[in-house]
Point group: C2
Chain length 394, copies 2
């Protein structure tokens, strides 16, 4: 175990109807005038935005609104949000939605607290030391999609226009002050989006689990516990989208997969996320769908670096490969992972995702590694990334 700092102060209000507490929670964490930020029409049509507004009114919180966040959230809307936040002198960012809405809200929170400046904090792989974000408005969340874990994380990813460069910012000031989590709000998600969310949270655990750090028994066991939970509950939630208990387990798993309780004390990887962001930036595909294509290819490419770790993954998460040698078990685990993704209806190849072989050089270039490498488990150079993309061809 390596030294670590851990700080996950997000207040979680979990359960049915908890969105009625939104106003109280905004007040509790210092907000009196909020920018209510959300995505498409479904949150309005479902009545959720209305219930949140009513809760704000009841708590005496003033607010302005900005909807229209798209998946892979765009910098143009962030710019609009920053202008609005500054003009309206809001003191709180309230995100009602999934990871894209939350990440967009975090970007606006930075801009509003730094005189409009936010874009310079979003950087790519070419930067080894991220710029420190001096301040951000407090952010609160009403979560509607179990996936990204942004409700409990310090990170934000934005599609910078022009060019759709996916770039990230990070810092303690971005950690949401509260997250309202009502599993019922996720019941109306289409099956494909539910599946993408589970692939995303599972990937967040893989990025932490596959590590060169030794003697991390506790976080190894925690990662496996949450991964097993996602696999076990995924079958229930796909069979019955309104299974409250399965939705609840999945939703809480998404937060714990990414608030770093499963990741502290170990070198993490994050190569698959870096590679996938090129896919969703170029094709505007769902991040979870891109991960379903990239992660098994990454595993196939790197498992020989530490077959014992992949064998452990096979045996402890998918219950396969027992009695086999580590190399065979590792391959059995990767196959089981692929089979699980397929059972969720997710794509496994470029063709199924709608990606094109001829774009591989462009994506490798845009990843902008420079002379750096990608990933903590096995550092990857540009040639390695090309090889992993080629494994995605199927």
């Amino acid at each position: 175990m390596i030294d670590f700092d851990y700080w996950a102060p997000t207040y979680i209000a979990f359960g049915r109807d908890k969105e009625s507490r939104t106003g109280e929670l905004v007040r509790r964490f210092g907000g009196s005038r909020a920018l209510l930020h959300y995505g498409g029409g479904s949150a309005v049509r479902s009545g959720l935005i209305g219930r949140v507004e009513a809760s704000l009114v009841e708590a005496g919180v003033e607010f302005v609104e900005l909807g229209g966040v798209k998946p892979n959230p765009r910098s143009s809307l962030v710019e609009e949000g920053v202008r609005l936040a500054l003009a309206e002198k809001v003191d709180f960012m309230l995100a009602v939605g999934g990871g894209s809405v939350i990440d967009s809200a975090k970007a606006i929170a930075i801009g509003a607290a730094n005189g409009g400046e936010w874009r310079k904090f979003y950087v790519g792989r070419e930067v080894k030391v991220r710029p420190t974000i001096p301040a951000a408005l407090p952010v609160g969340v009403v979560l509607t999609i179990a996936a990204a874990g942004s409700e409990g994380s310090t990170n934000s990813i934005i599609n910078l226009e022009p060019g759709n460069l996916k770039r990230g910012a990070g810092g303690d000031v971005l950690r949401p002050r509260f997250a309202v989590m009502n599993p019922e709000l996720t019941m109306s998600l289409p099956p494909f989006q539910t599946a993408c969310g589970m692939a995303d949270m599972f990937a967040h655990l893989c990025e932490r689990y596959f590590t060169p750090t030794v003697d991390v028994t506790l976080s190894d066991n925690l990662c496996e516990a949450v991964m097993r939970t996602i696999v076990e509950e995924s079958a229930k939630v796909m069979a019955d989208p309104s299974d409250y208990q399965a939705r609840a387990n999945i939703m809480w798993a998404g937060t714990l997969a990414h608030n770093d309780v499963c990741g502290v004390g170990r070198v993490q990887d994050w190569a698959s996320h870096g590679i996938e962001h090129e896919l969703s930036a170029l094709y505007d595909c769902a991040h979870g769908a891109g991960l379903a294509v990239v992660m098994p290819a990454w595993m196939t490419y790197v498992y020989k670096t530490d077959p014992a770790r992949f064998a452990r993954f096979a045996r402890n998460v998918f219950g396969v490969g027992r009695g086999e040698d580590d190399g065979a078990a590792a391959l059995a685990g990767i196959a089981a992972f692929r089979a699980w993704l397929k059972s969720l209806g997710l794509p496994l190849t470029f063709a199924e995702l709608g990606a094109k072989e001829e774009d591989i050089p462009l994506m490798v270039r845009t990843l902008n590694l420079g002379g750096n490498t990608l990933g903590g488990f096995r550092p990857l150079a540009e040639d390695d990334v090309t090889a992993i993309f080629r494994l995605c061809l199927g």
Copy 2:
């Protein structure tokens, strides 16, 4: 899963030499004049108190000191601490020690923020709704014993004199703002104290794991992951007390066992803790040693309430009882638990603990159940508690 609120905002600084950051962390969390609270001479003799003092001086934090906290911390020292904190106008409580020191610091933090009033917030089993603590000084911790989890919890237990009544207070205001956790500081603990600590943290997980709540896959898996880690690492740490990595895994396990990440969304039990507190109050034994006696007896008494849950415990934590029916597996699990405690050198019976059969009626009376019951898994009346004490006779 039942509805829950979860808030664990303690900042953790984990690793070698992290005590050198104490002053910086006191400053970060609002302290400028601290009461440095600790136990016996070992923290002074080892040089730890000196290093903490140097860190405070370097950060420009003024401080006064009060040592002398004993295990099962006494109300008389709390009274002295409250007087000192008020007279010296401290704005921060800094605990350097284990659970007893932290709990004593929390009590002083209440008194100092409420005009000297603290005792009325410490109540027993006769009270169904605990009084709300309106305020407390912020508390920071430099942890020296991996056991109680008080560094990340909302609770405090004090021995109220006269009569040595163990009573508890709880509330968000008691959650420490930061915890410095250097596994090296635990290496000099005697083996018996190390073992008591592991029994205590394991018991914290059992109190959460044994629940009537269904559909809690995630927290079931998390509890089992942390319990397995404690068992696995316990052998290493008993074999080599200076095994840094084993100490690190155990230390972090102690925090996660009790900051409620493994317990939210489920009815918890806490009967064994309630019963044990009567033992440590009467005999001044180590809390973990008392738990080693009480927990297996409690398990033996209640397992028939839900043999499947105890069978799961047997199979997933101790790897026994596979292929057996649930009743047989449950008993195999309890036997394996007992064998593990014995392997740590812990007592399993009243005789080994130094407790006396004739004191059972007194302890049951002092538990002060009134007409209430004890425990969320299987509610226990006074007769049940008597029966469990009798099972402790061996």
